[in-house]
Symmetry: C2
Subunit: 258 residues, 2 copies
DNA sequence: GCCGACTATGTGGTCTGACCACACAGCCTA
DNA sequence: TAGGCTGTGTGGTCAGACCACATAGTCGGC
């Protein structure tokens, strides 16, 4: 007769997490109905709802009303939205300084670019013999596609920024690391408002936009040229330069406790 | 007469986020009571509770029952818990492959070590003139303290792993980047179960533990010796070596789509 | 026989009201 | 004055009800 000191919604959350770990629930599966879950676990429906709400915000489930096979809470495991919400709110609550967001993005994206270039290099070296089927060129098609879209005349600032965000995210996606993809998406979302505000502090938007596009081309070229160090440096200059220009991050030189 | 298509709990969440962004709510402040918030926003108390539950899991508020100044929902902005929950559940739901968690940790922690070493270097170079008061030695005291604790005889495996996790986290804390701190905590939490299981696959725990301790000392020494490249390499070898040994991450060589 | 409209059913979304345990603040008694 | 006692407000929980919605099945007209 030990009492469960956890709150009711924590019981529900732990139960679902356990089902996930045991493989009883997989992406695409449907959760039992809220009323069923409530009676099964001996808690109220509102407690079940609180747990499902958490899962929804964290990007684990998607809820649909109505009837049929698509209704109910479905496991999706899309971490991007959850990471974005987490970081956005933490920035709002002053738990994440904007400067730390920028610096983390710098670290991750330079690493991504370098890794992509190394992947290109490996693929080129090993192409003659087909003994390494897992070594293949990363898919940079979408990256180039987005760069082409950014060259379209008459783009508004917001459209350009959206394409810019998509390009940077597409680099992470080409790399294939789900954690980095979600984190990069979250980092970008968290400072999206600040990025927009920063555009207003630019001396000349056309000049900056042209420079950004040229830098993007350079980054992609360095990756395709299998130049890890070059790609790393270009991404570093691209990101830190832009944030310095918009005065988003106070001092880019400070590498510690900044 | 425009209808608000958002769900009720999203209205509450957006309202609180807006208050945070406008500075009407800061860390340490108390949220209005659930009943007050419900009537003010024209929603039911259960919807308010769902929103607060989300904020709690994301690490933005801490709730306390009872009366007095410590009761109610208080803004705390502690992202570690939220990041841990997010990553742990995403691993459980197969949204985050364990290999990606490990690789991301590798990228972040090598960058942290290199940055710490650079900070030591900068502090040493600029120590003669006091013109750069923001350039100071990172606080590595806690790191060394944890290493000493890991040398204590008779430590159980779990105790050792806990100290190991604390040491790696203390490096990030010395670096001061809140985003990296929270992310590292989350990454570690997400694979904690796998790390424990991996210990059982080791040939000899005493040997491995001794090697890990030595590697820790080496990393800290490289940082204190202001050797960024050395610190980077030692951390890389330390992490990838351990995960390879425990067969946690299948192939450390694969740098792309692995 | 075929196709449309209609209805039954089950889902999440929401609100309301009620009760509990808890913690503090103030009172009240010894 | 010191101790316990009670009032009050907090979050935590549950139960019940209703809604909008989407599907699946039925029934009707053609």
């Amino acid at each position: 007769m030990t009492v469960d000191e956890r709150r009711a919604w924590e019981i529900v959350l732990a139960h679902i997490e356990n089902d996930l770990l045991l493989g009883r629930l997989k992406p695409g599966d449907r959760l039992p109905g809220e009323r069923v879950l409530a009676t099964d676990l001996g808690v109220g429906r509102s407690s079940v709802r609180e747990a499902i709400r958490v899962l929804e915000v964290l990007g684990l489930v998607r809820t649909n009303v109505g009837s049929g096979p698509t209704a109910g809470a479905i496991i999706v495991a899309l971490p991007g939205g959850g990471m974005s919400a987490l970081m956005r709110l933490q920035v709002a609550a002053q738990g994440f300084p904007v400067a730390d967001i920028v610096k983390t993005r710098l670290v991750l994206e330079t690493a991504v670019a370098a890794e992509l270039a190394e992947a290109v290099l490996s693929a080129a070296l090993l192409r003659p013999d087909r003994q390494h089927p897992d070594r293949q060129d990363p898919d940079l098609g979408r990256c180039a596609q987005l760069l082409d879209a950014m060259d379209a005349p008459g783009l508004t600032e917001d459209e350009f920024l959206a394409l810019d965000a998509a390009f940077h995210l597409s680099l992470a996606e080409a790399c294939g690391n789900q954690v980095v993809i979600a984190t990069m998406a979250g980092l970008r979302t968290a400072i999206e408002g600040y990025v927009r505000a920063g555009v207003g502090r630019l001396a000349s938007w056309p000049d900056t936009s042209a420079r950004l596009r040229a830098e993007h081309r350079g980054i992609l070229a360095a990756i395709e040229a299998a130049d890890p160090a070059g790609a790393h440096g270009l991404v570093h200059a691209h990101i830190s330069g832009y944030y310095a220009e918009t005065r988003l991050a106070p001092e880019q030189n400070r590498t510690h406790n900044g």
